[in-house]
């Protein structure tokens, strides 16, 4: 093998490796699930404990389902992750946020809602999962 080819070989490995690693990281089966229960199963969630220590701030009525602002705060000790799901969306799992090194269990983002639905939040704390949900009335479909 010529030295140049060898070096190019190394380069392509370096360039390609992170992409493969990321593909492995992304929970494809959970995000592609069409049913909420299926999505949570793929997130390895079995028992969900209802909790009022999860604050969800969403509009009661969303004019446009393409942009619905969701604010979530977990007051549960040792919160590691916050997942946001929309029960009636074609693929209910919207996002899963994992916090570390001083990040507060708090997030604000904007999501798409196909129709009126519960916005469900699942908090992971240690080996336990806690949940809370709020309903949002959607006047105009936002999934296109």
């Amino acid at each position: 093998m010529r030295r140049r080819d060898f070096l190019l070989g190394i380069l392509s490995v370096i360039v390609l490796a992170p992409v493969n690693a990321l593909a492995a990281l992304w929970n494809k089966s959970a995000f592609e699930s069409a049913q909420l229960a299926e999505a949570t199963k793929h997130l390895n969630i079995d028992v969900e404990i209802p909790s009022q220590d999860i604050e969800i701030i969403v509009p009661e009525r969303a004019e446009n389902g393409a942009i619905v602002q969701v604010e979530v705060r977990s007051n549960i000790a040792h919160t590691e992750a916050i997942a946001i799901l929309v029960e009636n969306n074609p693929t209910p799992l919207i996002a899963n946020f994992m916090f570390s090194n001083g990040a507060e269990p708090y997030v604000v983002t904007r999501i798409k809602m196909a129709e009126t639905s519960e916005v469900k939040v699942i908090v992971k704390a240690g080996h336990q999962y806690f949940t809370h949900a709020k309903n949002v009335v959607v006047l105009e479909n936002g999934c296109g």
Partner: protein
């Protein structure tokens, strides 16, 4: 190409009390793969799958996203123990292999 321009992300990181609030606005189509164009053809899915935030190089937030995050994604998160002058960096990767990263210095609100 989406995601490769230098001004892809607008970021702000401000110290308020003892918490740094980081706000990020990204430029991305977030196509679900279910939308059709004017010729009744499906527009292929194109969406951010992974987002990472670091504080002075240390990971503070890792997010996995599906197609349900709105177009031009918006995100706010909060960091405890961060100071003015610290550096917050946000990186995203989408399903087509595109990515973008941007960093910002924490300022006093």
């Amino acid at each position: 190409m989406a995601g490769l321009s230098a001004d892809n992300m607008k970021m702000r990181a401000q110290l308020k009390g003892d918490v740094v609030e980081v706000k990020v606005l990204m430029s991305h189509p977030m196509e679900t793969g279910r939308r059709k164009n004017d010729f009744d053809q499906l527009i292929p899915a194109h969406f951010v799958q992974l987002l990472t935030a670091t504080l002075n190089g240390k990971t503070v937030l890792e997010a996995q996203w599906g197609t349900g995050i709105s177009k031009n994604p918006y995100l706010t998160f909060r960091l405890k123990g961060a100071k003015v002058g610290d550096v917050v960096e946000v990186t995203w990767h989408d399903n087509l292999g595109e990515s973008a990263a941007q960093s910002i210095v924490v300022t006093q609100a």
